[in-house]
Symmetry: C2
Subunit: 236 residues, 2 copies
Amino acid sequence: MMNKFMKIYEDISNQIQEGSLAAGSLLPSENDLADTFQTSRETIRKALKILSEDGYIHKVQGKGSIVLDVKKFAFPISGLVSFKELSKKMGHRAKTHVEMLQEIFPDEGLKEHLKLSRDDTAWEIHRVREIDKERVIFDKDFIVKKMVPGLNKAICQNSIYEYVEEELGLTISFAKKEITVETPTEEDRSYLDLEGFHNIVVVKNFVYLDDTSLFQYTESRHRPDKFRFVDFARRK
Amino acid sequence: MMNKFMKIYEDISNQIQEGSLAAGSLLPSENDLADTFQTSRETIRKALKILSEDGYIHKVQGKGSIVLDVKKFAFPISGLVSFKELSKKMGHRAKTHVEMLQEIFPDEGLKEHLKLSRDDTAWEIHRVREIDKERVIFDKDFIVKKMVPGLNKAICQNSIYEYVEEELGLTISFAKKEITVETPTEEDRSYLDLEGFHNIVVVKNFVYLDDTSLFQYTESRHRPDKFRFVDFARRK
DNA sequence: AAGTGGTCTAGACCACGCA
DNA sequence: GCGTGGTCTAGACCACTTG
């Protein structure tokens, strides 16, 4: 069963996506909504808060909640989305190749990143993402081994996130992400179709579990022409 | 006067930044905080919500709120931050040159972007940002003229945002941002120190006012080595 | 079982936009 | 002045973690 405010959120966001709530128009007032959904105003406000954060509406004091235009969709690297969720949307145009899966003794830099203690080992995973028959993304993952001892190729082929959350019962909760542009390494050139490209977009990801321990460090290396990042930002 | 929950937010975030609330430790419970701040629990929860969104804490049901490590700071292109706010942090290492300010009759593409009606004109502004004596960012702005009739070079030199909000009383409320990597144009090469660079990072920005009208379209074109984008993402 | 955060309520008052 | 959203309250019950 879903929360009440989540159901209200789903209901309204669906209406906006269908167009039965037109962009530019005003939502019913919070008091009206509280009546029609048979709930209190604070619960309505919780739903509207999320709608606003997700770019569905914009609230103006004294006026009301304006429905925004949500036609534009995009490559949603924003938030925490795994490649598997992404490739679902792309249908059969996307493929994953697991090129490497090995246990390593991490060097100092990586120990620093993963906050490893002496003797801890890590998994190093190389995966290449193919879109429309072109190898355009190279994902390089480092995971603390003791947290995921039973990792294997089939899991990497599918979704590490899924395995960790559903099989191991760990909760991935937040991540710090950093986007930079770098010069391709020999490794990049060997894995990707980089023909004439002189740069590569690097998305570094620090993934944390619910107990705030660092779980994974990932570099997702994208061919620049296939990279796109979209964000919705609010003032203050 | 500030809101109660904002004061609580400030108070706690300051304590975290100072280190008097250590990373890894637990915050007092919401009931305790409600007592010490002489307020209701919901108000405390509002403050904690923002602390969590801003990456200061992480909440776990049944356990408490864990203080996160916030030492790592970064080039905050995330959110809506103007170059002026940014350059404050950089001290005298940053400079702005206004290279162009003219009224134009927009072509079809731009009319589309700015949703201009027939006969509307726009401002086209070119600004080059210099950091440590190197010209590394080229900002190309298009603004609906009728919204900002009195624009001049001094304003562009300072901060267009500031002028629009403080002098004109308009409220900039949200933006859609898109990051891609492109091949430099002749224009880019003439404005920036691009020596051997083959790519340029383009941040396209659609800035909206409080009444949801599109106010400005901006392309911020960065030399790839000087570009960095940092984000804090939460699952779901 | 006790304590934590998560949800929900019904009501109050305030700040703002608009006619 | 009325209706809007913004803040705040005091209390209730639920879901979860930990001893």
